[in-house]
Amino acid sequence: MKRKLLTGTMVGALFVGLLAGPASAQDYEWTTQDILDNTWILIAAVLVLFMQAGFALVETGMTRTKNAGNIMMKNMMDMAVAAIAFFVVGYGFAYGSDAGGFIGTDLFFLRGGDAYEGGLSLETNYFFQVAFAGAAATIASGAMAGRTKFWTYMIFTIAMTAFIYPVVVHFFWGGGIIADLQIGNAKFGDFAGSTIVHSAGGWAALMGAIFLGPRIGKYAKDGTPRAIPGHSMPLAITGVFILLVGWFGFNGGSELAADQFVPGIMVTTLLSAAAGALGATFAITMYTKKPDVGMAGNGILAGLVSITAGTGTITPVGAVITGFLGGLLVVGSVIFIDRRGIDDPVGAISVHGVCGVWGTLAVGLFAVNGDAFVDAAFPLEDGTEYTASGLFYGGGVNQLIVQLIGVLIVAAWVLVTTGILFAVLKSTMGLRVSEQEEIEGLDIHEHGAPGYGPDVTMSGSSVSV
């Protein structure tokens, strides 16, 4: 019933734009540099879209066989829903003409942009940004794994990619309230989205995990957390590798051009990821005496999230430190959150939320004066040059404070909106599957068949033929 309504509305909405033709002919002649810019960003966007496979594999590998199909499905639908929702309204809300620093008001259905005069075309921009929207939604999926109703999750994803995330984007990249944030000569900086994408996703993940409550069996009667080991490290770590590869598109493409700054971005991204792996391995080995494989994978992701804000402004050595601390942080955070009774099967809150915040603040510590991209992207209102830099490079605390304010604004927005959303969903459709469904697995109950055939798991259905 509800499903029919839902789809009906979507299909209807699409017809609105059907009759109109494509944008009118371009008079501007594209230069080879224009084409190179767009081609590079398209390639980067493909890498970011590939990250969806990485998210799916990390999440499925770190959970159990009985929910494997459900998890692949959610990640696949996140991408599908994001593509349509961002096309219909999301891109417009994010990048359309500003209303009150809060939301965009045009460019729906990718219609009505300015005539092309160099740089990225509207299509290129959409294609790159939509991949980020899918990622932002998918982050929550991991924290909600193993107990969430599929159709309820779909509503969340629609809300996230059509409205909640686009508004966050508008706040900063769309020229909204954070874009103008300035203390002294320090402006808020978040190059590729430690805050805008990752912490936003992380806050949604936190709310999801809290509203759902822990999986059955996750906590002993006295509240001690119990491990529910994932079913496949090979899948999980393959997912980490795919995310790493995709992140070079995520960060490298966020330059929004093919230029001389991209190589440095790639280098800091790699170094931070590597240091994150070392940091997490170090921390978990100190704690349990064993280098946990999944934690090392989380460490790579922590390093990546941590450098995402500062990849264009932090030096290579700064990137190593940022990533290493991110790796330490993710271990501490996973264990802390686990102990607080919040069940996050893949560590999404820690990786994306906590490290997203850390990465944004790291800009206030390690950013270097005179970075070309920052100059170009954030000229000060009065025309003076941007001269702020991180605390450790003599820039004082201004940058750090402005970073913190940006973080808090995004946190407030996402926590409130997703909080309301989950509360409403919980009291209407219901958030969580029944106990029996959870025990027997979401695959059978939500999707009709197990994600692994009877020839793989003993809990499978049949031994014949």
Binding site: I439, G448, A449, M458, S461, V463
Partner: protein, 112 residues
């Protein structure tokens, strides 16, 4: 000596294990099996085609005991494994003629 075999629901295993410890049982062997019975199976759908799954996952528990405690052990298992819903399983008892502990070669009651 007797062998007590119990077919139980997989998620009741932990409680059964604790109940057995409580009555002094220190050893057992389990395996994953599939059961067919009154509980029935369920229908799954894959790519638009339905199929019947007749066998449901169960755990089989085997305990060899010596002496007169058969009733007590059986009751311990039955008590812990009971959910009251269909498909809770069965317990049966068969006679054992001899028992050996491989490590030591001990036999009979000493081998339990």
């Amino acid at each position: 000596m007797n062998l007590i075999t119990a077919i139980i629901k997989p998620h009741m295993l932990d409680e059964v294990k604790e109940a057995l410890s409580a009555v002094g049982i220190q050893g057992m062997t389990i395996s994953e099996v599939k059961g067919f019975g009154r509980q029935g199976g369920h229908t799954e759908t894959y790519r638009g085609a339905e199929y019947q799954v007749d066998f449901v996952p169960k755990v089989k528990l085997e305990v060899v005991i010596d002496g007169p405690d058969v009733g007590k052990v059986t009751e311990a298992i039955a008590g812990a494994a009971q959910t009251g819903k269909i498909g809770d399983g069965k317990i049966w008892v068969t006679p054992v003629e001899s028992l050996v502990r491989i490590r030591t070669g001990e036999m009979g009651a000493d081998a339990v």
